[in-house]
Amino acid sequence: MRAARGITSRAHPLWLAYILHRLSGLGLALFLPFHFWVLALATTDPARLDGFLTLTEAGAVKLAEFGLVFLLAVHMFGGLRLMALEFLPWTPSQKTLAAGATALSFCVAMLFLLKAI
């Protein structure tokens, strides 16, 4: 209860961005060893690798994959935001414009990619 109040009492946007960046980074770091291990099966046990890859068709695993892609994207954009904040002494409106432009161009690129294939 006290911990929950501790969090809600300082849940302003920049703090939420900080906690999201930390938790996504932590999640990615914990996932990476597993990711590397599965890929290395290509030499040691190809049949088992295919077993893992067919597993990716399952609903629950698909959801987990979506989660991982989200973690990666959110950690990257959060990191770029942080570096812009630290290294580029922009005005707030310039920052909003830059963030908006980046998000928009990313959406356009993704849309293009999904259409193209």
């Binding site: 300082r10 302003h12 920049l14 900080y18 290294f87």
Partner: protein, 237 residues
């Protein structure tokens, strides 16, 4: 305000009553509430204040989990129904009740070289300061700090990393770095690049969000990061 009686909980060491009924009145500040308890309910209560007008920086406390200057915070703005919880400032050792030991906070100001590095004597003419230069504008942005330690209490990085110098000390270091009258550039950059330096900051911005004087320590720390990164590439280390 919903009732005439405030339910006030004080977070304090074992012993002594922790919940008090305090009569409410118009334009009452959090400090007024604490003072009423000390004067009418528990004379042993320890707390710290001096000027009561937001200049001295001695009355900051945690109010419903948020650090605030209590003399300039109306109780009506922070009440949760008719309840409020008041505790000692976070991230500093408690001496007694609502009084914390500010020594670690001020030691870190010195640790950040946030002290004046003068070279002139009284016999030199007074140096002219250009109020419109970009450096002076940067310096002016941070000089209204009253050392209340609200930013220090708000910072989760301070909570997890006891060596971290914290927002107030680093902001003053940034102010002096931009001050034409201060000659301590090398010493400041060295001090804020150490183990507890500006690079530990995660830009979570609680310092800027809660500063009662609406200063922006987070951006000041970002300035230090830029300057130290520049000198990193220049000196190659």
């Amino acid at each position: 305000m919903t009732s005439n009686i405030l339910k006030v909980t004080l977070e304090r060491d074992a012993g002594g009553q922790t919940e008090f009924d305090v009569p409410a009145y118009e334009s009452q500040t959090v400090l007024d509430v604490v003072s009423w308890i000390q004067q009418n309910a528990d004379p042993t209560l320890s707390y710290r204040f001096a000027c009561r007008v937001g200049m001295c920086g001695s009355c900051a406390m945690m109010v419903n989990g948020v650090p605030r200057w209590t003399c300039r915070t109306h109780i009506s703005k922070v009440l949760d129904g008719d309840k409020v919880t008041i505790g000692p400032l976070r991230n500093l050792p408690v001496i007694k009740d609502l009084t914390v030991d500010m020594d670690p906070f001020f030691d870190k100001w010195v640790g950040a070289e946030a002290v004046h590095h003068g070279t002139l004597t009284r016999d030199d003419p007074i140096a002219a300061v250009d109020e419109t230069s970009p450096e002076r504008v940067e310096a002016n942005a941070g000089i209204e700090c009253i050392n209340c330690s609200v930013c220090y209490a708000a910072c989760d990085t301070v909570a997890g990393n006891p060596d971290y110098l914290g927002p107030a000390a680093l902001q003053r270091a940034w102010t002096l770095l931009n001050d034409a009258k201060d000659e301590g550039r090398a010493a400041i950059l060295e001090a804020v690049s150490g183990r507890g330096g500006c690079h530990n900051c995660h830009s979570m911005g609680s310092c800027t969000a809660y500063c009662p004087n609406e200063l922006d320590p987070m951006s000041a720390i970002a300035g230090l990061k830029r300057e130290t990164a520049k000198s990193f590439f220049k000196r190659g280390r």
